[in-house]
C-alpha cells in the first residue's frame, strides 16, 4: 500500500474542510423543528421574526460549539496517541475526560462554582490530575506503561469517575437537569459566551501542537532514536501532552464527557494521510469537527421530537471501532 503524495494529502485536507462545511450547514438546517430555506436564510442573517428563523438562529452557536469541541477532541486524540505511542490513547478512554467532568461537577456541587470561566480552570486541572493518575496506575508492575495496561487503567478510572459524577448529581434534582450533560456529553446548551471563553485556549493549544508536529514524528521512532535526531524528548512530550490536556479539558468544560471522537478520528486520518503529524494533526482537527457536528445532527433527527445527546451518538458509533482496534492491538501484543 502506498500513501498519497503531497498533492493527495492536500486534497484530503480540502475534502475534510468541505465535509465540515456540509456538516455545519446540515446542523443549522436540520433539527427537531423542520424549517424551510427562507427560515434558514432569515435565521442566519439575524432575523428572528418567524419561529423557524428563531430556531435556526439558536442552532448557530450549537453548531459552532460542536465544531470547536469535535475539533479539540480529534486533535487531542491524535496528539495523545503520538505522545504515548499508544494506539488506544484517547482522552475519554484514558480517563482524562471523565476526570475533568468529575472535577467540574464536584466544583459545582460542593464549592458553589457558578461562573463558566471557573469551570474551565477546574476542568483543565481535573483533566491533568486524571492524566497523571491513570499514567501512574498504568505504570505499575513490570514493563512500565504498556498499551493495554494504560487502556485498562483508563477504563477503570473512567468507570470510577463516571460513577462518582452520578453519585454527586443524582441526589440533586435541582442541578441534575441543568448539568445532565456532564454525565453524557452534549452541545445543546451552547451560547456564544462559553464559546468565546474556550476558543482562545483551543487556538493556543492548536498552535503548540502544530509546533510539536515534527517532534512527535521523531518520538514515534522511539525515545532513543528521537534523542539521536536532536529532539528534547521530555520537553516535547510535556508540551504536547499539556496542549492535549488543555484541549480535552476545554472541550469537557463546555460539553461534558464525549467519548470515541479522539480515538476514531486519528486512526481514520492515518489511513488517509499516513503518520506524519504535520498532516495528521490538521486533518484530525477537521474530521473531528465534522464528525461531532454530524453526530449531533443525527442525535436531533433520529429521536424526534426528543433529542439524543451527542455523547450517546458518538458512543454508539465509536464502540464497534474500539473493539476492532483492541482486538488487533491484543493480537499484536501476544
Amino acid at each position: 500500500m502506498s500513501l498519497p503524495g503531497r498533492a493527495g494529502r492536500t486534497t484530503w485536507l480540502f475534502v475534510a474542510l468541505a465535509a465540515l462545511a456540509v456538516a455545519a450547514l446540515l446542523s443549522v438546517a436540520l433539527g427537531v423543528r423542520a424549517v424551510g430555506w427562507s427560515d434558514i436564510v432569515a435565521g442566519l442573517s439575524g432575523d428572528h421574526d418567524t419561529v423557524g428563523a428563531a430556531a435556526v438562529a439558536k442552532r448557530v452557536p450549537r453548531t459552532a460549539l460542536a465544531v470547536l469541541v469535535g475539533g479539540s477532541l480529534g486533535l487531542a486524540g491524535a496528539v495523545m496517541q503520538g505522545v504515548t505511542r499508544n494506539p488506544l490513547a484517547d482522552p475519554a478512554l484514558l480517563g482524562v475526560t471523565s476526570g475533568s467532568a468529575l472535577a467540574v461537577v464536584c466544583g459545582i456541587a460542593f464549592f458553589g462554582l457558578a461562573a463558566p470561566s471557573s469551570y474551565l480552570a477546574v476542568a483543565i486541572l481535573g483533566a491533568a490530575a486524571a492524566a497523571v493518575l491513570v499514567h501512574a496506575i498504568g505504570s505499575l508492575g513490570r514493563g512500565g506503561p504498556t498499551t493495554l495496561k494504560l487502556a485498562l487503567a483508563g477504563a477503570a478510572c473512567t468507570a470510577a469517575f463516571s460513577s462518582m459524577v452520578s453519585a454527586v448529581l443524582l441526589p440533586r434534582i435541582d442541578v441534575m437537569n441543568e448539568f445532565r450533560f456532564w454525565q453524557i456529553g452534549g452541545v445543546g446548551g451552547a451560547d456564544w459566551h462559553r464559546i468565546g471563553m474556550v476558543a482562545p485556549l483551543v487556538l493556543t493549544a492548536l498552535v503548540v501542537c502544530m509546533g510539536a508536529a515534527r517532534g512527535l514524528d521523531a518520538l514515534a521512532l522511539g525515545d532513543d532514536a528521537a534523542a539521536g535526531l536532536g529532539v528534547h524528548v521530555g520537553r516535547t512530550r510535556l508540551l504536547a501532552g499539556l496542549a492535549a490536556i488543555v484541549l480535552c479539558g476545554s472541550a469537557t468544560a463546555v460539553a461534558g464527557p464525549i467519548g470515541f471522537v479522539g480515538l476514531v478520528v486519528p486512526h481514520l486520518c492515518r489511513l488517509l494521510v499516513g503518520s506524519a503529524h504535520r498532516w495528521l494533526l490538521p486533518l484530525s482537527l477537521l474530521v473531528g469537527a465534522a464528525l461531532l457536528t454530524l453526530a449531533d445532527v443525527l442525535g436531533r433527527v433520529v429521536a424526534r421530537p426528543a433529542e439524543l445527546d451527542v455523547g450517546i451518538v458518538t458512543a454508539v458509533l465509536g464502540a464497534p471501532f474500539f473493539i476492532a482496534l483492541v482486538r488487533r492491538a491484543a493480537v499484536r501484543a501476544l
Partner: protein, 261 residues
C-alpha cells in the same frame, strides 16, 4: 565530508543507572575516519558506553567530548547534525513507507515550521542509494525482511548527514548472511564517505574482521584497546569472556579468529 579533529572522546567517565554503577572511570577516543567496535560479555556496560557517547546518558563523573566540547553543552539539534545514532530497537510507525522513514533523518536540519528543501530531497535520495534500498522507497517498512529493514534504518541515519555514526548492535536478530551484508555496508560507507563509525557488536570474530580499532570491556572497565591483532589474543579473550580459546588467522581476511577450546 570529513573535517579534521572530528573525534569523540570519553574522559574518565563513570556511568550509572540510578545508584547502580555500570561503567567506572573509563577513557577512550574514537579514531577519526575509522571503525571502532566495542566488545565484551553480556552486561559489561558496552551499550551503556554507547548511550553515553550518543549523549543519551549523562555521565555521573567525567565527560564525553566532541571536538573538545562537552556533548551536554552542545544544543541537541546542532549535535544531531554531527552525531548520528542507530539505537538497538527503533520503532517503525505502522504503515510508514521507506522514503518517509528515511526522510525523518532530516529532522535536525529543519526548523520548527520549516519547509522541505531540495537539499533534504537530495540527502534522502543519496541515503537510499548508498544503502541499496532505492527500489524499496515506496514499500511499507512492515513488509520488509529483517536485513532490508536494518538497511533502511541505516539509510535514515545517513540522511542525517553526520560525520560520526553510532550503532548499538546493528546485527542483532539477523542471520549470518544479513549480518555480513550490514557490516559490509557500514565498511563501505566508512571507506567512501570517511564516516567515523562506532558500534557495539556481540560476535567477537565479526568484530575482529570489521574493526580498525577494537575496545574490550569487562565489568565496566576497559581491558584492552587497539587494533584487532593487538586486542584479540588468547589471554585477553580469556580475561574478557572467561573463555579458554585458541586464536588463529582468519583464512579469508587474515584477521584474528577465535576458536573456543
Amino acid at each position: 565530508m570529513n573535517t579534521p579533529g572530528n573525534t569523540l572522546v570519553v574522559e574518565r567517565a563513570s556511568l550509572s543507572y540510578g545508584d547502580r554503577p555500570i561503567v567506572t572511570d573509563l577513557s577512550l577516543a574514537l579514531p577519526e575516519g575509522q571503525v571502532t567496535v566495542i566488545v565484551g560479555a553480556n552486561a559489561c556496560g558496552k551499550s551503556t558506553l554507547l548511550r553515553a557517547l550518543a549523549r543519551l546518558l549523562r555521565p555521573a563523573g567525567g565527560q564525553v567530548l566532541l571536538d573538545g566540547r562537552d556533548v551536554h553543552t552542545i544544543p541537541t539539534r546542532q549535535l544531531a547534525r554531527r552525531l548520528g545514532l542507530m539505537p538497538q530497537a527503533p520503532i517503525a510507525p505502522e504503515g510508514i513507507v521507506v522514503a518517509d522513514l528515511v526522510a525523518r533523518g532530516r529532522h535536525p536540519h529543519q526548523g520548527l515550521f520549516g519547509r522541505w528543501s531540495a537539499a533534504d530531497d537530495a540527502a534522502v535520495a543519496a541515503a537510499l542509494e548508498a544503502t541499496g534500498v532505492s527500489d524499496l522507497a515506496d514499500r511499507a517498512v512492515d513488509e520488509l525482511s529483517g536485513g532490508q529493514r536494518q538497511r533502511v534504518w541505516i539509510a535514515m541515519a545517513l540522511a542525517q548527514e553526520t560525520s560520526v555514526l553510532l550503532l548499538d548492535e546493528p546485527t542483532t536478530y539477523l542471520d549470518l548472511a544479513h549480518q555480513i551484508e550490514v557490516l559490509d555496508l557500514l565498511a563501505r560507507l566508512n571507506a567512501e564517505r570517511g564516516t567515523t563509525i562506532a558500534m557495539v557488536l556481540h560476535d567477537l570474530n565479526l568484530a575482529a574482521r570489521y574493526a580498525d580499532h577494537l575496545v574490550a570491556l569487562r565489568a565496566g572497565r576497559m581491558v584492552a584497546a587497539g587494533t584487532p591483532a593487538e586486542v584479540v589474543t588468547e589471554e585477553t579473550v580469556e580475561a574478557v569472556f572467561g573463555l579458554p580459546c585458541m586464536v588463529v588467522a582468519d583464512p579469508v581476511t587474515g584477521t584474528p579468529l577465535v576458536v573456543p577450546r
